[in-house]
Symmetry: C2
DNA sequence: ACCTGAACACCGTTCAAGT
DNA sequence: ACCTGAACACCGTTCAAGT
């Protein structure tokens, strides 16, 4: 009745389980041994499907980013479009414990394609325009770096507070949302005079 | 002749050695056992001077930030002042291998004071004005998050390239300096209409 | 006060050998 | 093709005991 469980998607099962385990226990406790136990298998078995822990984490990062849904703002205002894309990415990172750190540590190795970068670059393109606007890609890279830095910091702070750190209010970090919104707004506004809005 | 080496600065010696070791071998290979060997001591001896590895890394991060020298631009242009402060911080992070990652992972636990944040906030203050401009602190926080995200990514990429990754040119990352300069410029320009320059 | 020795409870990864 | 068993070379941290 049940289809053969021994299908060719064993690797997907590993990544899925790793993502769930990450969310449960955090990056520090996501070990190959613990993951193997979760899958009722010896640790060494994992290395038949995956070259190394780092490769596994890269696959997990891809999965986290797969989840990004940009709220499809057809707004003519560049600020709104950038904000929507940036929020989509941030929320995907926040959806799993230590998601931002996993993606950050993995994005550096991603030489060519980056889904996150593409989304931001698309939001920054004048959209009446053509293909690869170089200035838009540079601005998109800067925005991505802000989003990753911001979210990593916020997520680490959440985790630190939860098992005993300090007052969640008084700091220069204020409300995280306010810093995030300000950062995106500043980046977008700084850009406006360059990619001229037709007034 | 030589003053007693058994002074009360043993903890400083540990931090200094840890920083040097970090620069030599990188964060992944900076272990308590290796650090102990460097100091000709048993690993357990370190725990008399330091509560945990995390506390040690926080001290190392402070040391990295101590090094920041802001080029003292008395420029009236907000963009120049912010750029000078941001460069000072970035260069301090780049001065040691994995410096950005160490500071990033440590900045989250820093509830109150942050030297880096203070420097950026000072650069953003209208300077004819008074003390704690709240909007400036929020913008400074956003700028710090960009600098940390940017530098962590760039530094990881440097390290990845050095032992076999990919073409250092063609990507959406372009020249790192260009992305950094663009990010800072956008943040500063976005801010200008708010903290009004006296024209 | 400061350090050693020994242990506890772990890691990631490799590789012969099994089925 | 896919997994087990056993090993290698490590980790951070604790704690009695020494000096």
């Amino acid at each position: 009745m049940t289809p053969p469980r021994t299908g060719r998607h064993d690797r997907d099962r590993i990544v899925t389980t790793a993502l769930a385990l990450l969310d449960e226990v955090g990056l520090a406790d996501l070990t190959m041994r613990r993951l193997a136990a979760e899958l009722d298998v010896q640790p060494s078995a994992l290395y038949w499907h995956v070259r190394s822990k780092q490769e596994l984490l890269a696959a997990v990062a891809d999965r986290i980013l797969d989840r990004v849904r940009v709220p499809d703002t057809r707004s003519p205002a560049l600020e709104d479009r950038l904000h929507a894309a940036a929020r989509g990415i941030r929320d995907a990172l926040l959806a799993y414990r230590d998601g931002a750190e996993v993606v950050l540590s993995t994005e550096a190795l991603r030489l060519g394609s980056s889904r996150a970068l593409d989304l931001l670059a698309a939001a920054l393109r004048p959209d009446d325009g053509d293909g690869a606007d170089e200035e838009a890609v540079v601005a998109a890279a800067a925005t991505l770096q802000f989003v990753l830095g911001h979210t990593t910091l916020v997520q680490q702070r959440m985790h630190a507070e939860s098992h005993g750190a300090a007052a969640p209010e008084d700091l220069g970090d204020a409300a995280p949302d306010r810093v995030f919104d300000t950062g995106i707004r500043l980046l977008a506004r700084g850009l406006s005079p360059v990619s001229g809005r037709r007034a």
